[in-house]
């Protein structure tokens, strides 16, 4: 019989899913030109779920025979995902109206996607990981194609779908091999079965799972889809996708590798090392030549996947695992918040038919809209990792953890690529302040609130980072 504690481990998830299902039906009653009501309802659902998630702080447990776990890590990640969902709704509220995309499905699909991401953060069984992966991805495929019949958006949706389905195939094959080697899909069972199982098969299975999830987090060399999808998808969707899918993908990777495969640390760490280094180098180098802000941010998102992967390299080393997981989580927060802010500015400048997206369209922004330009400057500084921003603090913790893990070379690559990235991020700032131009922007209350919120958090938390880092440090993974 199911005990009540099974249920309470995933209570926020259940509430959010039920809310999404009901919202799908409620939306049918809302007249076509009043879909803002659906947006408010979805935000309400996310806020309620956020409250329930925060109430789970400090609790530990597992449910459904170890299919899902509740631990500090999952609470932290879920809270971040829900905030991302809220910011995603806030960015979309005016944007979809302006672009003529206002449909109730947007918000229900977004809720389903957040539910999938939350399940991914709590999943402790490879079957649940796979289901969560699909539940978060399918709504994202649709959202990427949401501006259909616009060709770019359709292309983005189709490309994302095809490559996403392909990568899901890798994940399933990896799960099958892990199952073949250990005879179970539960992470707890895998840990127990590892001493008596075929290492070769297990390693290849784990590598295939890494490849599949590597697609989701846009790590090089599985990043090919990212620029086109990020560019073609509606900007509000891209903002949510860049933050949410990355956070969920990393949380699943961290949980699977740190709890089930720590014994593969010696062989997999080198692979992860190369993956992280390659992702940072390629992402940052290609970003230099971009002249479209959406593509620039897409390559920036690839590069940041590389930085977060750094936190992941010492996963098999129990001495530094805790501090590197904490640094990774902190960096995810810093990236997610900065990312939403930067996309908020992009959305403010974007006009119909994809105009207002070239870097040249930012010329003169500093003179005409000083507040917006100041906010964009903060986000660019944060993406580089310069003071006084969250990006600096995040990189500091990250590099410290990586060096503590004994990977000095990787930290050096991280610092050097950050220097390279300064070139293209600062170019945006230079264009905004040094070049003459007549930019026009759209001012919408929720959009402005999101951008201002992101800018304030980026600056203020960087001045007092200790509480957030303390929370991230206490967000430990439940080990089996």
């Amino acid at each position: 019989m199911m005990s009540f504690s099974d249920f309470t481990t995933i209570l926020p998830l259940v509430v959010l899913t039920a809310w999404a299902c009901v919202l799908l039906l409620v939306d049918l009653l809302i007249p076509r030109n009043r879909k803002g009501i659906t947006a408010l309802f979805s935000a309400l659902g996310l806020a309620l779920t956020l409250g329930l998630t925060i109430a789970q702080l400090g609790r530990q447990g597992s449910g459904f025979n170890d299919m899902v776990v509740l631990d500090g890590f999952s609470v932290f990640v879920n809270a971040l995902l829900l905030v991302s969902g809220l910011l995603g709704v806030a960015l979309a509220y005016g944007y979809v109206k302006r672009m003529g995309l206002e449909r109730g499905e947007y918000y229900t699909l977004l809720l389903f996607s957040v539910a999938g991401m939350m399940l991914m953060a709590q999943a402790a069984d490879l079957i649940v990981v796979f289901l969560a992966l699909e539940l978060l991805s399918i709504p994202l495929y649709i959202l990427a194609a949401f501006a259909r019949p616009k060709v770019e958006s359709e292309e983005a949706g189709l490309k994302y779908f095809l490559l996403g389905a392909f990568s899901a195939g890798f994940v399933v094959y990896g799960i099958a091999l892990v199952y073949g080697a250990t005879g179970t899909t539960a992470l707890s069972g895998i840990v127990a079965a590892i001493p008596s199982s075929s290492t070769l098969m297990l390693t290849i299975g784990a590598a295939l799972i890494l490849v599949g999830l590597g697609f989701k987090i846009a790590a090089v060399p599985f990043h090919m889809w990212t620029p086109d999808v990020y560019q073609g998808a509606p900007s509000a969707v891209t903002a949510f996708m860049a933050a949410g899918a990355k956070v969920a993908g990393f949380s699943a990777l961290l949980r699977i590798f740190a709890t089930a495969f720590p014994s593969l640390g010696s062989s997999m760490s080198d692979v992860l090392w190369a993956l992280a280094a390659l992702t940072m180098i390629v992402g940052n180098l290609i970003a230099i030549s971009q002249s479209d802000i959406k593509r620039l941010l897409a390559y920036s998102s690839i590069a940041h996947a590389g930085y977060i992967l750094m936190a992941f390299v010492p996963f098999g080393n129990p001495d530094v695992r805790a501090v590197s997981v904490a640094a990774g989580l902190f960096y995810l927060v810093s990236y997610a918040i900065t990312n939403f802010g930067a996309w908020g500015v992009v959305i403010a400048l974007e006009k119909a038919e994809g105009r207002g997206l070239a870097l040249d369209d930012y010329a003169g922004l500093g003179r005409k809209y000083p507040a917006l330009a100041a906010a964009m400057t903060i986000f660019m500084l944060s993406l580089i990792g310069l003071p006084p921003t969250l990006g600096l603090v995040g990189k500091f913790y990250l590099f410290r953890a990586v060096i503590a893990g004994g990977y000095v070379g990787l930290a050096v690559i991280g610092v050097l690529t950050s220097l390279i990235s300064a070139y293209y991020y600062l170019r945006v700032v230079v264009i905004m302040y040094m070049r003459e131009g007549e930019p026009t922007t759209t001012s919408e209350p929720y959009l402005n609130m999101t951008t201002a919120f992101a800018a304030l958090v980026t600056v203020i938390v960087s001045l007092v980072p200790a509480p957030l880092f303390a929370w991230a440090s206490s967000a430990v993974l439940k080990l089996f």
């Binding site: 019989m1 199911m2 005990s3 099974d6 995933i10 899913t17 299902c21 799908l24 449910g63 459904f64 025979n65 299919m67 899902v68 449909r103 499905e105 229900t108 699909l109 389903f112 539910a115 399940l119 079957i127 649940v128 289901l131 969560a132 699909e134 539940l135 399918i138 709504p139 495929y141 649709i142 194609a145 949401f146 259909r148 949706g157 091999l177 073949g180 080697a181 075929s198 070769l200 098969m201 290849i204």
Partner: protein, 169 residues
């Protein structure tokens, strides 16, 4: 060689041959029909493995719904069913080499697995596969959560499919 081995070889050959035809035939409808044959071959393999429920599911879902969807999609989008473009490109030899390497690698991997040479046990005649599955799907100690998540996943997919395919305003 036992009878079941002979049956397996015949079925496997049939499945592989039709899979090859799927990618080589130039008529898209024929390709879809060969796909049906391939999927049917897989269903027979399930039946040989005594996974009766999976065999039926394979026929019901893959042949009954997905292959039909394929055929609909082909008929919807293409006025001309014959593909006249070249079937190979410059990378064909590299592709073939890669496929061969992956095949050899996977064969090696699977042959090193200790379950590879194990002989499957005959299931008792009164073994209630379907009942066991039904119990597992709704038992909180087994697959209750994936079962319900699957339902949510189907709902999300349905909403998405309807949104994408829907043309009327």
């Amino acid at each position: 060689m036992t009878i079941s081995q002979i049956i397996f070889l015949v079925v496997a050959g049939f499945t592989l041959a039709s899979a090859l035809m799927v990618v080589t035939t130039r008529n898209l409808i024929h390709a879809a029909l060969f796909l049906v044959a391939t999927l049917f071959g897989v269903a027979v393999v399930y039946a040989i493995l005594q996974a009766g429920f999976l065999a039926v599911v394979q026929v019901v879902i893959y042949i009954g719904a997905i292959a039909i969807l394929f055929i609909f999609a082909v008929m919807l989008t293409r006025r001309d069913m014959r593909d006249r473009g070249p079937q190979m490109n410059r990378m064909q030899w590299i592709g073939a080499l890669l496929a061969l390497l992956i095949f050899i690698g996977l064969s090696f991997l699977l042959s090193s697995w200790d379950g590879y040479s194990a002989v499957a046990q005959e299931m008792p005649a009164d073994f209630d596969t379907m009942g066991r599955l039904g119990e597992a799907l709704v038992s909180p100690d087994a697959y209750l959560l994936p079962f319900e998540v699957a339902s949510v996943l189907l709902l999300a997919a349905l909403v998405g499919a309807v949104y994408v395919a829907y043309t009327r305003r």
